[in-house]
Structures are given as structure tokens and as C-alpha cells.
């Protein structure tokens, strides 16, 4: 962790988060495997929580620590059972407790079991969010589980998972217009400012988020990996969340979150990508 808005909990864990983000691409799943999702089948899919990929990830990231699931879990994941478009699957996380100093979601990890780099995002979250809800869009390469694991400030771990199918068809050629706008970072308040509770806000970064697995359809050469790896959002100078993210986030990465806001407050974002691009965005709340 570079910035220390939050206490790090990686000590004593089997593997640090940055190592995990950097290294898990090599979990035997690398190679040009990101491609069109199959249509239709198979239909005999289960919704059980486990998968070989998950067992491996769990052991590396959380060792043998217990992880609450089902009714006992404090986190809920909403993913379409059948995603309309595999390159951008909307994923929503709802936390079943408010963010308070006493007890809050400290770290949230989003995983896509079968993606070449299964850890999509790791967010360190502040109580100032009011509610640790999150919505983003993920690339889902194959039929498989999408998961969230939340670590609360009391150290407990909570998980929810959904099995996701992706509708059939060929993959779309990447959108290569407007390259000069890479990094433009925009905030939005989709429901306006809320006086009586957490306000939903969205930060979006114009970025191709290239995985390195796709061929340019004009040059027929691999497009080198180039993706956003860090999104830090603060409010009035204090950190709301730091998100370390990977290329499992879709093109034009976007995070919809919540914060306790008031008129005159100011949202700031700092963004870094894998080519050392640094970008900023801000919004003065009216």
C-alpha cells in the first residue's frame, strides 16, 4: 500500500494484495484465452460456491480463515444470471451493514474465477462512504463464478458468489476511436445529492483497458496490455476508497459507490494506468 489512508491488513496474510494482483495472472491461466464466449450451453450448471480456481485463490489470499457465506454473510452480490454482453457485465455489491467507525467494510475483493487474472479489484474502504455498496462492469471470459469477499474492520470475512453465463456470439472488435481522450475522468451523481443518507456517485475513466489478449482487427497484431490499475477517490481531502484494479474491469472502467455528502463538498479522483499514465478528475457538489 502506498497511501496510508487505511491501515493495511496484509501483514500476516499469506500474500500481499499487490503481489496477488500482479502475480495471479500466472496461475496457470495465462495465454491468449480471452475470446468470444460460447452461445447457449452447457445447461447443466450448478450454483454451488466452489470451483478449483476459487480453492486456489482462497488459500493464497485468506489461508484457512473462515469466510461467512449464505445467510451469515454481510455482503450480497447481484450479477445477471445470463449476461447480455460478456465484455461488460454489470456487477453490484450490497453491504448488509452501514459504514460506521465502530464496524465497517475495510476491504472488498472482486473475483472472476475463470478469468486469466481472476482478481478484478481490491478496494480499501472508509467509513465515510456511509454504505459500502459498489457497482461496476466486469469482463467475464467464460461461464463461471463472480465473487465478492468483504473484510470487516473486526477482521471477519464475508463472501457472496453468483454463477454467470454469458450470451453467445463473436467478440466485438475493440473500440479504437478517440485515443487522445485516454484518462479523462468524470464524476456523476446519478440521483443528485441526498440530504438524509448516502449519496450514490459514479467515477468513470475513458480508457481502452486493453488486456493484451486481443488482436487488432486492422493490423492483426496483439494490442499490448494497457489498463487502469489504481483509482483513488477522496472527498474533501479525505480518502473514500482506494481501488487497485485489473483488466477484468471493462473498457472505460466505472465505479458506482456511495458517500456521505453535503453541498459544497468536493470529490477528487487520482487514476494511474499500467503505462504510468496519471489522470485526475473532480466534481464540486452543488
Amino acid at each position: 500500500m502506498s497511501s496510508d489512508a487505511f491501515s493495511s491488513s496484509t501483514h500476516g496474510r499469506p500474500m500481499s494484495r499487490r503481489m496477488a494482483l500482479a502475480g495471479l495472472g500466472a496461475l496457470g491461466l495465462s495465454g491468449p484465452a480471452v475470446r468470444a464466449a460460447p452461445g447457449g450451453l452447457p445447461s447443466n450448471v450448478g450454483h454451488a460456491d466452489s470451483s478449483p480456481q476459487w480453492e486456489e485463490l482462497r488459500a493464497k489470499l485468506w489461508g484457512r480463515e473462515p469466510i461467512a457465506a449464505g445467510e451469515a454473510s454481510k455482503v450480497q452480490l447481484i450479477v445477471p444470471l445470463r449476461a447480455a454482453f460478456g465484455a461488460s457485465v454489470p456487477v453490484k455489491v450490497l453491504s448488509k451493514l452501514p459504514q460506521t467507525e465502530a464496524l465497517h467494510v475495510k476491504r472488498m475483493t472482486l473475483l472472476v474465477d475463470k478469468n486469466p487474472a481472476p482478481i478484478a479489484a481490491v478496494l480499501d474502504m472508509s467509513p465515510r462512504m456511509g454504505q459500502a455498496d459498489l457497482e461496476t462492469r466486469l469482463r467475464v471470459d467464460e461461464y463461471g463464478h463472480v465473487r465478492v469477499v468483504s473484510e470487516l474492520s473486526d477482521g471477519s470475512l464475508h463472501m457472496d458468489s453468483r454463477y454467470c453465463k454469458v450470451s453467445g456470439g463473436c467478440s466485438a472488435p475493440p473500440n479504437r476511436d478517440q485515443l487522445h481522450n485516454i484518462g479523462k475522468t468524470v464524476f456523476r451523481l446519478p440521483e443528485g445529492l441526498k440530504a438524509d443518507g448516502p449519496t450514490p456517485a459514479e467515477v468513470s475513466v475513458v480508457h481502452p483497458n486493453d488486456t493484451g489478449f486481443e488482436l487488432n482487427h486492422i493490423t492483426v497484431m496483439y494490442i499490448p496490455p494497457h489498463y487502469v490499475r489504481l483509482i483513488k477517490v477522496s472527498y474533501d481531502g479525505e480518502a473514500l476508497f482506494n481501488a487497485e484494479v485489473g483488466f477484468s474491469l471493462s473498457e472505460n472502467p466505472s465505479l458506482r459507490f456511495k458517500l456521505m455528502a453535503r453541498p459544497g463538498g468536493r470529490l477528487n479522483a487520482e487514476v494511474e494506468d499500467t503505462k504510468e499514465g496519471r489522470f485526475r478528475g473532480q466534481l464540486a457538489l452543488a
Binding site: 468470444a36 447480455a84 457497482e135 467478440s171 481522450n181 493490423t219 473498457e251 472505460n252
Partner: protein, 338 residues
């Protein structure tokens, strides 16, 4: 099938089990047996038991073979795209080839039932699996395959993956002999084709429904094969499209006043086929513009983009939902850039 190599009767699939065991043993020892085994595969392909409607005449010398509705599955074995051919005094041009070598073989068999003139060229209209991979059957006979340069690029960049998926979905038997290929001729824009002694116009308006859309107009009959530009009673697919280019191409196509329109998917019709595509695109854009303005999150877009008028069209549940998500993301992207 005179073009197929002959083979010894002992290698027919109906060979006696004892004999087969013996042959298998020999095959492991003697290289010539391998060549014979390959011929057996061709024999199997020519005995295709799968559904393939006969070619239907649209005008003198102009035929189409209807594709089957639905997603690629075991029943339609991926034969979802329309194919066709035009017979001239000096030979035949085929238009699109189907999903597999078997499918291509079936098209060639259809052509042979109609004429004994040589097949001179296969034209591929756009880079979708159900139009492409039957090219293997044509290539096996030395028939050249042509497509727009941009279509070849898109095919090379993604279709190996489609082929892997098809093998998984349909099984090796259905996909036998089907492989990725390079076109023999690359087209750049529109041209005239006099190859079969019957004037054909190869129409291209740049990136429209896909990066290298090709349509084929038979001047004599006024029949046009639209490839990806039009689908009928099936939801058009936005995935590879540039919408403005697509609308421009549809307008240009209508201006040619074709008498019959053969869409990529769905039944043949008149210029109303073109109207149907335009109307759908307009309705989709209007709805998604509204959803974006209303601040709807992507997670709700597929459900809220219902367009009841099109609910009965083939692939509404898959392609329409994907179109909605795609167009929403594009409109949102444009909004971010403002």
C-alpha cells in the same frame, strides 16, 4: 460427387468390425493408410444426414438456401446463415458458405443438383462464423475465396476462437475438416464482377454492420444478397457495427431499387426487408437514449430496453439484449467525451 477422390471400398464406414480392427492395426504401421483414412473423412462428409433445405430459385439462375433459426445448437448444427449462388453462362459464384466444411459440402451438392457448370468463386459477405467456415469445402476443390480486406482482418483477429467454441458446441464430427483460412482474393471497396458471364455488382460502403460488409447484386434479376447489412424477422446484430455507416449503407442499398432482397438471416423479401432493419435500429437508439438520459445503470438496461414490437423476432432474447447493452455503453462513452 465427381470432384471427390475415389477410395477403396474397404475403408467405407460400414466396414466389418474385424476388418476395421485389422485396418486400425495396419494404419499404425503403414503411412499410406493415413492418406486413405483422410479420404474416408471426405466420404463421411458427402454422406451428410443433417438438415439442409434444397436450393430455391428466386429468378432465372439465382438461388438461395435458407438458414435455420435459433442459436447455434445440436439441432440446427450452426446452419443459421442464408447462403446462395448465381449461375451464369460461364460458371457459378457462391455467396457465403455456412458454418462448417460439411455445410459447405452441402451447398456445393445443392449447386451440383442445379447445374454442372464450374463453381468459379466463393464470396464471403462478412466475418461471422455461420457464413465463413464452409469455405473449407470450396478450398478443398481449389475454388478461390474472396472477401473484403476488412472482413479478412476481423476474421483473423477473432475467428479462431469462434472455431474452438463451435468444435466444443457441435463436436468434432460436425466440424471435421473445418479450419481457419486466408482468403485467396482481398477486395477493397465496390467492384464489378464479370467472371461468370453475367454482370454482378459487388457492393461495399465501408464500415457499416461490420467493418467489411459486402452485398452482391445480380443486375439481370435485381436480386441482392445483403450479407450482414440486413436480417429479416431476426434481430440485427450491432456488435461489429458503426451505426451511421450502417444507416448510410441501407439508404444506398434502397436507392438501387432491388427487386428481391436476400438477408443474411431470415426469409427473402422486397425492399421492406431494408425498412425493417432501419426501423429496428431507430427504435433501439431512441429507447437507449431515453435510458441514458434517465440515469439508468447498466444492470437494468437489458430489462428496460424491451421493444415489444420485436419480441417475436428470432434471437430477441440474446441479440436484442446484447444490442441494448452495447448501444448503451457506446452512448455513455460519447457522453463521457463531451
Amino acid at each position: 460427387m465427381p470432384a471427390l477422390p475415389q477410395h477403396p471400398a474397404s475403408l467405407r464406414p460400414t466396414v466389418h468390425p474385424d476388418r476395421r480392427r485389422l485396418l486400425a492395426l495396419l494404419g499404425g504401421l503403414a503411412l499410406p493408410m493415413l492418406a486413405q483414412a483422410a479420404r474416408t473423412e471426405i466420404e463421411v462428409l458427402s454422406l451428410d444426414p443433417l438438415p439442409q433445405p434444397p436450393a430455391q430459385a428466386l429468378a432465372d439462375g439465382v438461388y438461395w438456401v435458407p438458414g435455420l433459426p435459433g442459436e447455434v445448437d445440436g439441432r440446427n448444427v450452426g446452419r443459421n446463415g442464408n447462403t446462395g449462388f448465381i449461375v451464369g453462362p460461364q460458371g457459378v459464384v457462391a455467396i457465403d458458405a455456412g458454418v462448417s466444411r460439411r455445410h459447405g459440402e452441402a451447398l456445393l451438392a445443392n449447386i451440383e443438383r442445379v447445374t454442372d457448370r464450374p463453381v468459379k468463386l466463393l464470396l464471403i459477405t462478412h466475418a461471422r462464423q455461420e457464413f465463413l467456415f464452409g469455405a473449407a469445402a470450396f478450398r478443398a476443390r481449389g475454388i478461390p475465396v474472396a472477401m473484403q480486406r476488412a472482413t479478412a482482418g476481423l476474421m483473423t483477429s477473432r475467428c479462431e476462437g469462434c472455431l474452438d467454441t463451435l468444435r466444443g458446441l457441435l463436436g468434432e464430427a460436425h466440424m471435421a475438416g473445418t479450419e481457419m483460412f486466408k482468403p485467396d482474393q482481398l477486395l477493397d471497396g465496390p467492384s464489378a464482377l464479370g467472371l461468370i458471364g453475367r454482370p454482378l455488382r459487388l457492393l461495399s460502403w465501408g464500415h457499416s454492420s461490420g467493418p467489411g460488409d459486402l452485398a452482391v447484386l445480380d443486375e439481370a434479376s435485381g436480386v441482392v444478397f445483403t450479407g450482414g447489412l440486413c436480417d429479416r424477422l431476426r434481430v440485427p446484430d450491432l456488435q461489429d457495427s458503426r451505426l451511421q455507416g450502417w444507416r448510410d449503407a441501407l439508404a444506398a442499398l434502397r436507392a438501387l431499387q432491388p427487386r428481391q432482397v436476400v438477408p443474411g438471416h431470415g426469409p427473402v423479401g422486397d425492399v421492406g426487408v431494408i425498412d425493417g432493419v432501419e426501423d429496428y435500429l431507430r427504435a433501439l437508439e431512441q429507447r437507449l437514449g431515453q435510458l441514458l438520459d434517465a440515469g439508468v445503470p447498466l444492470s437494468e438496461v437489458a430489462e428496460r430496453a424491451e421493444l415489444g414490437a420485436y419480441a417475436g423476432w428470432d434471437q430477441y432474447e440474446v441479440i436484442h439484449r446484447r444490442n441494448a447493452a452495447l448501444l448503451f455503453l457506446r452512448l455513455e462513452h460519447a457522453q463521457l467525451l463531451r
